[in-house]
Amino acid sequence: MARTESQSHDKFAGRWFWRYASPAAFFPLAGKLEKLCWVIAAVLTAVGLYIGFFVAPTDAQQGEVYRVIFIHVPAAWMAMVIYLAMAFWSGTGLVLGTRLSFMMSHALAPTGAMMAVVALVTGSLWGRPTWGTYWVWDARLTSTLILFFLYVGYMALAASFDDKKKGDRASALIALVGAINVPIIYFSVKWWNTLHQGSSVRPGSSSMAATMLTAMMVMTFAFWAYAIAAALHRLRTQVIEREREASWLKEAIK
């Protein structure tokens, strides 16, 4: 009898990973993970930029300017990965009704939008010396721009509801609609225009020196760590904002 009662109190009791669906359980863990990720991000950024700027050789065709890829490519990848993560948490939230999932996807959105902007800005700064213009309507730049629009739409929708719960579910739905559309948009735009310089910066391709690839991979992991740390920080801020009346929170941030 007592057992069924405790189960009805906490519908996710029983398995250890469900326990962390509760903000109260995840809040302290998120704090620890956040600190860890900040450290990893700082160390990997230092190492990655050092290899990228001082160890990797100068490119035969583009000179020093190619070094922007150590920022540009990880940012472009993260912009895409974060959108998928956001859609994943949105879907989880809609199916399981877990508040924390919605908060996670709200926490990811600004970082994803920022990654898209970083990719666009570094892309155009790279484009000026190599293509002779800041902007070309090539497939990858254009689809990153559209991805940025999708992030903006998600955030604007989430902010337009006074009722937080409604905003959570509405924006989660639009994140899923966007996730279904991302591949369609990507291939349409690719078909529309394929000016990009092809596969020369694809990892593993022979046109890249090993140290360049190392630097890029290290920077990618640094960006991952940064994105996780920033999202967890934002998540904790949201938990504090939304659960400000809860007694466990007063204990946790004492």
Binding site: I146, F149, L150, V152, G153, A156, L157, S160, F161, K166, R169, A170, L173, I174, L176, V177, G178, I180, N181, I184, I185, S188, V189, W191, W192
Partner: protein
């Protein structure tokens, strides 16, 4: 009331409303006309230049005009209470939404496609290009309204709903825009537009299959 009679009642009501309220069809058409006539003032009146931009301008104009009709899908019904009746109906909500969107697509799509060839003349486009453009507008309007119905359902009587609907929906219509305009361009260059038309139809069918379900879920969220 069976599903069939319920959907056909919603369908007929939508068409009747559209026919009886002149502003519902006259305003989008006027908007379309004005947008299309603004561009020559900006880029100059040489027919070679106009021919190049005409297809894009007309297609974007038609999409924007259709966009403006999105709030009327659910907003007025929410005000006069008929949306509540739709929500409490025993018939599946997705089917009722599909009937509404189908009626609006038919009415608005035909209206916009009918004036498209006239506007094509403004831009010195040949007849066959004008015809292809009209066909693509006819196919693009349902896709846009289906995708847009999700946003319209989420933003029923929300503040700033119209502008936010545009922000949410327009990026999602880019594939339709790309292939619609490209089909007309192919005809202009004397090539076959079959691939583009097939893709246009594919987008429409995909939207037809998924969007009413998403819009029904959206309507339940926003009116919760």
């Amino acid at each position: 009331m069976s599903l069939r009679s319920a959907t056909s009642a919603v369908f007929r009501r939508e068409l009747q409303l559209f026919a009886r309220r002149k502003s519902d069809w006259a305003n989008p058409l006027m908007f379309f006309l004005i947008v299309c006539s603004l561009f020559p003032f900006a880029v100059g009146s040489e027919s070679e230049k106009l021919k190049l931009i005409g297809i894009g301008v007309i297609f974007v104009g038609a999409l924007l005009a259709a966009m403006l009709s999105l709030p009327r899908l659910f907003d007025e019904d929410a005000r006069d209470g008929s949306l509540e009746l739709m929500l409490t109906s025993p018939e599946p909500l997705a089917a009722l939404i599909l009937a509404r969107v189908a009626a609006l697509s038919l009415a608005l799509g035909v209206a916009l496609a009918a004036v498209t060839p006239v506007f094509a003349l403004f831009y010195a486009l040949p007849y066959d290009v004008a015809g292809m453009l009209a066909l693509n507008v006819l196919m693009a309007v349902p896709t846009l309204l289906l995708v847009g119905s999700i946003a319209a359902a989420l933003l029923v009587s929300a503040r700033g709903g119209a502008i936010l609907t545009a922000v949410l929906v327009l990026p999602l219509t880019i594939p339709t825009l790309i292939f619609g305009a490209s089909a007309a361009l192919k005809v202009l260059y004397g090539e076959s537009p079959a691939a583009e038309l097939a893709l246009q139809a594919a987008f429409m069918l995909l939207a037809l299959a998924l969007c009413p379900l998403a819009a029904a879920a959206a309507l339940k969220i926003s009116t919760d």
